[in-house]
């Protein structure tokens, strides 16, 4: 009963917005700017399943492949970011010497927004997947490295002492104490980094490649298909949500000890 109540509460505002949107979309001065929800769903349906007709619709039936292009790029760039940033962040947080070498470098590059890297990345990689993956990597990298560093710095001193007392070497300490102790922070970094990676994929696909949700978004805008633009926006949000939930469920499984602690 309670769940039903919360569900009804939760959908009230979205439904009101949808109704207002439907009326607003029907106003004559909104034509070509704001398609109605019904029109968006119809356009989306054609985008997903294809449309019967003369084959003039460039988007017909291409939704899934574009989702795949974008998701694949996020997966590649983000994985690369995670594989490099987690160990690097742990080392920076763990060793003052490594921090002195790397932290100034990373901190001085970090304020450059990933969007500012766009021209450089196109110059370097051309109109190709690599340019897009590079930006996604960069977007995910900073968030993960900063959080992993923080996690390694915050490890309870007595856990380190306990491990040393039991004969752990420095390498064992890093792998068996610092890494698991930093995992909560690492997951925070992964979630933030993944969000930035999705931003990066859309931005880069608008400019640097000719496929994916970001490419369709910009292309549909140029040809005035605002229904596709809006369906695309919702698709991006959906993919971001699903991939975030994926990380959260991995986190819940990996950090069972932590979720027990909080309940």
């Amino acid at each position: 009963m309670k769940r039903l109540k919360f569900f009804l509460y939760g959908i009230t505002v979205p439904i009101i917005v949808l109704i207002i949107w439907q009326f607003a979309g029907n106003l004559s001065n909104m034509a070509g700017v704001l398609p109605t929800p019904v029109a968006v769903i119809k356009g989306w349906e054609g985008w997903i399943f294809g449309e019967v007709g003369l084959g003039l619709n460039a988007y017909s039936g291409t939704w899934l492949s574009n989702v795949q292009y974008s998701t694949m790029r996020v997966f590649q760039g983000f994985s690369l970011a995670a594989i490099l940033a987690v160990p690097l962040g742990l080392l920076i947080g763990w060793s003052r010497l490594i921090a002195q070498f790397l932290d100034p470098f990373i901190q001085s590059l970090r304020p450059i927004p990933i969007t500012a890297w766009l021209p450089f990345s196109i110059a370097l990689f051309g109109i190709s997947d690599m340019g897009s993956i590079f930006l996604i990597f960069l977007g995910g990298f900073y968030a993960i490295v900063v959080n992993a560093t923080q996690g390694a710095r915050d490890v309870d001193r007595n856990l380190i002492r306990a491990a040393l007392m039991m004969g752990a070497s420095r390498a064992q300490l890093l792998r068996r104490v610092v890494f698991p102790a930093a995992l909560p922070n690492i997951f925070t970094g992964l979630r933030i980094g993944l969000g930035i990676s999705w931003t990066a994929v859309i931005v880069s696909e608008m400019v640097a490649v000719k496929s994916g949700l970001g490419y369709v978004l910009w292309d549909a805008y140029y040809v005035g298909r605002m229904d596709i633009v809006l369906a695309d926006m919702v698709s991006i949000g959906l993919m971001g949500f699903i991939t975030d939930r994926l990380i959260v469920s991995i986190e819940r499984f990996t950090l069972k000890w932590r979720f027990l602690q909080n309940h």
């Binding site: 491990a163 040393l164 007392m165 698991p180 000890w257």
Partner: protein
């Protein structure tokens, strides 16, 4: 050879002004002896324990454990921490075997011992539990089982029962005494609880603060094995009065 020999040990924390945490500590602890370091907070008793464990380094003086000076922590000196300091992501069993496993021993070499130690501390049925699922007293039992499995001959205990409720504290003290009777390790037990010090120790070293010094050595004449009822005897109370007067002035 004594288990621990300390001569003219100083610990100064540099700063402005520098803090003289320990001044001229002399202490000899025999093999298998149970010693209590008793004193108010800030008297340097935990610092002294950290120096013996090599968590910190002394500013000057000599500190030998089984005749050797150490510059790093090691399994010969097992530490029980105030808040247990178990690895929260490992279950009881994994925590207990952390030492031998880290050392690279085969499971067959430590499993029997770990099982035995878990039995001694009464946690045989809790191997799969995570530390968060245990009470404070049970966590300290794991902390004790883990250094017994490690095979430490010297146990350094830093107010291990300080955060427990009175009843649990009593049963943990009894448990520690029974472990000590069975295995006879050398124990240095830091506490600010006079009753605890008398109940457990062969010798009590009363420390005073600023700078941290050993003010007095008190021999506890109570016979062993001791039980809870010993804490209500006239001899016990007489000793407590003496120590109270000692600490007051």
């Amino acid at each position: 050879m004594p288990a621990i020999q300390i001569q003219n040990l100083h610990k100064i924390y540099l700063g402005d002004p520098p803090v003289h945490a320990l001044e001229g500590i002399d202490l000899t602890v025999n093999d298998g002896e149970l010693v209590a370091l008793l004193g108010p907070s800030g008297c340097g008793k935990s610092t002294l324990l950290n120096l013996i464990a090599s968590f910190e380094n002394a500013s000057s003086g000599e500190l030998l454990v089984h005749g050797e000076s150490h510059d790093a922590p090691g399994p010969d000196r097992g530490v029980v921490f105030q808040e247990a300091a178990l690895f929260p992501w490992l279950n009881v069993w994994e925590n207990v075997i952390f030492g031998p496993k880290t050392k690279g021993l085969a499971a067959s070499e430590y499993e029997d011992k770990a099982n035995e130690m878990l039995k001694i501390v009464g946690l045989s049925d809790f191997k799969k539990h995570l530390p968060v699922q245990l009470s404070g007293g049970m966590r300290q039992r794991v902390g004790i089982a883990r250094i017994l499995t490690l095979g430490s001959r010297v146990l350094l205990m830093d107010e291990p029962f300080g955060a427990l409720d009175a009843q649990t504290r009593l049963s943990m003290q009894e448990l520690l005494l029974s472990v000590w009777q069975q295995l006879k390790p050398t124990i240095i037990f830091v506490t600010h609880d006079i009753d605890e010090a008398i109940f457990l120790a062969d010798n009590i070293y009363v420390m005073s603060a600023r700078p941290g010094r050993i003010a007095e050595k008190i021999v506890v004449p109570l016979p062993r094995p001791r039980t809870i009822t010993d804490t209500t005897t006239e001899a016990f109370n007489q000793l407590k009065r003496e120590i109270l007067l000692q600490i007051r002035h």
